[in-house]
Amino acid sequence: MASAVSSLSRSSGSAVRPLATRDATWVRYTLTAVALGFLALFLLLPLVAVFAEALRRGLGAYITALKDPDGLHALKLTLITAALAVPANLVFGVAAAWCIAKFTFPGKSVLITLIDLPFAVSPVISGLIYVLIFGAQGWYGQYLNAEAPWFPALQAWLIEQDFKIIFAVPGIVLATVFVTFPFVARELIPLMQQQGNDEEYAAITLGANGWQTFWNVTLPNIKWGLFYGVILCNARAMGEFGAVSVVSGHIRGETNTLPLHVEILYNEYQFVGAFAAASVLALLALVTLVLKSLVEWAHARRTA
């Protein structure tokens, strides 16, 4: 009997029956090949090219290029910018997501649209707006030159300090904050909306105040989404070119971030230097990707 059954199943097994949920083999392999081929061509190949170009004159030339003081300063400025812009957007993003997801108020849809604005506007335009507002010919410049300004003490202090926004570090940070604003908020809003308010209400009926509710209930619930948003925000903050390019002034060793430094070196035909700096950026991006995967993995393990 058993042998009869097995021979039966064997004979029917020779004709492969397609499952309803599965496409034909050739379809699957073709689609996979197309996807992988596309990724290799447009993502992997450029990455390899960056390192190949950087190492073209050998490891020694690469290390010398990395030690270039202007390059090191650019790296430092990039890290400082990210270190200022990311925490700022962490706070803004959480605050914006909190009030959008948990409360109803007039103007809520306007706020949601405003959060998306940096995604919709070209970075160059946003940089230009900052130049218009904070540049020497802009409102800020007019304030510094005003004969009877508001808060004269502030004007005096700003002039004394020679405090510049455009073509200086504050402008770079401002432009970066603007461009990277949506990342944290966008990540959190759907998450918080989906979680609803019941846990917060429960905490409140149990006697927790607003602050305790936020720290003990809301924040732990959005923790993973927040990590994810911060990582994406950080990646963009370090890589931002357009807006920063407009407001920075490209002063070597002063207001050059790594992406700007790469462009300058490339335009000066210093290919090894340009690609060496680019490889540093690529490495930072890879670190970000690894962190992101780690966060996803840890989150999946926690919720499993």
């Binding site: 019941d198 846990e199 209400y201 429960a202 409140i204 009926t205 149990l206 003990n216």
Partner: protein
């Protein structure tokens, strides 16, 4: 702790959730707010809890004679249990239960040992002694609901409020938990209000049922009162199955024809009937599976359908089959003047067979 709500009105934009509602909950009672969705029952519960506030200038909530209208939820001393539990998902069961105690101001807070002892006591009370270290996702629905209850009770509330506490549970667990809750409530004697749309649940569990519809309270009474003496057509239709007929003739002045209600279990079927109150019917279908027998009948005189419920023994005795003709006699009826929702009990004495007929006032 008694609860008194006076003249509560709540609107959300153009939508009125509660329209001048007043409610008394006596101390130590288990009260059900029963109604279809959109009747305002959950809004009323949330206003009692302090999670929502009645429209400015309207209404007042008293807890045991003290006005709490403007006191925030956290200071009212209410335990609130949410339909979907709202357990803190990143905390263990023990941490969830301890939450209300750990967030108290330092001066009033109990020591860590005291809190731990209290958590242990509550875990025992909800019969989950060994599950303190689990996370909510590792519990079944019924267990989660009990944890939510323990968490609410940890701060020793004076009032317990439950929003559809069994709504998300499957039928079997619901029944067990219902029985458990009733016994538990009797034991600790805490004033409890729960919201439900399930009439069976309200009738089985509550000392007092508050039937709500369209932002208003239709009737307040013991389960027996609201079932046997429904104050309005809505109440009789919402609480269990009922046959509805237009009375023949006899319209009140200025109203349409009266509406007559007969519960299926008040419909008596007889093969041969000699009296004067019988209605001739034809059997349409016999449902013989279940706790009792059900028979679908059609009146021969006007084609109205009648549902009857009778014991399976009686059903067997009658030996009815589809197509048979028989007589029915109504043991107990209620009549409401249609359109005018005026309470008017016209039911005959339960023991006397009665029939509704043209022009008869019974």
């Amino acid at each position: 702790m008694s609860i008194i709500a006076r003249n509560i009105t709540k609107t959300f934009g153009a939508y009125t959730a509660l329209n001048d509602v007043s409610l008394d909950v006596p101390e130590g009672k288990l009260v059900a707010l029963l109604g279809p969705s959109g009747s305002g029952k959950t809004t009323l519960l949330r206003i009692i809890a302090g999670l929502e506030f009645s429209d400015p200038g309207s209404g007042r909530i008293d807890f045991h004679g003290t006005d709490v209208t403007d006191i925030p939820a956290g200071k009212r001393g209410v335990g609130f249990v949410f339909q979907h539990y709202a357990l803190f998902r990143h905390m263990t069961v023990a941490q969830n239960i301890a939450f209300g105690l750990t967030v108290q101001p330092r001066r009033e807070r109990q020591s860590a040992e005291q809190i731990q002892a209290r958590v242990k006591e509550l875990l025992k009370l909800i019969q989950l002694d060994d599950l303190g270290a689990r996370y909510p996702t590792q519990l079944s629905g019924g267990q989660r609901q009990r944890v939510a209850l323990a968490r609410a009770l940890a701060v020793q509330p004076k009032v317990l409020l439950l929003d559809e506490p069994f709504g998300a549970l499957d039928a079997r667990v619901r029944k067990d938990l219902r029985r458990w809750l009733r016994q538990f409530q009797r034991e600790i004697g805490i004033t409890t209000v729960f919201v439900t749309h399930d009439q069976e649940e309200a009738l089985e569990l509550a000392d007092q049922v508050v039937v709500m519809n369209n932002a208003k309270i239709e009737q307040v009474g013991t389960p027996q009162e609201v079932y046997d003496q429904p104050a309005s057509p809505f109440v009789i239709e919402f609480l269990g199955n009922v046959n509805r007929f237009a009375a023949l003739g006899h319209p009140l002045p200025g109203a349409g024809p009266d509406v007559i209600y007969v519960r299926p279990h008040d419909v008596d079927i007889q093969r041969h009937y000699e009296g004067e109150h019988g209605v001739r019917v034809r059997v349409q279908h016999v449902f013989s599976a279940g706790n009792y027998g059900r028979v679908a009948l059609v009146r021969l005189d006007n084609g109205d359908t009648i549902d009857a419920e009778l014991s399976r023994v009686r059903l067997k005795e009658l030996g009815l089959a589809a197509g048979d003709e028989a007589h029915v006699v109504f043991r107990h009826i209620r009549l409401f003047p249609a359109g005018a929702f005026v309470e008017r009990d016209v039911a005959a004495d339960d023991a006397t067979p009665a029939v509704v007929d043209a022009g008869r006032d019974i």
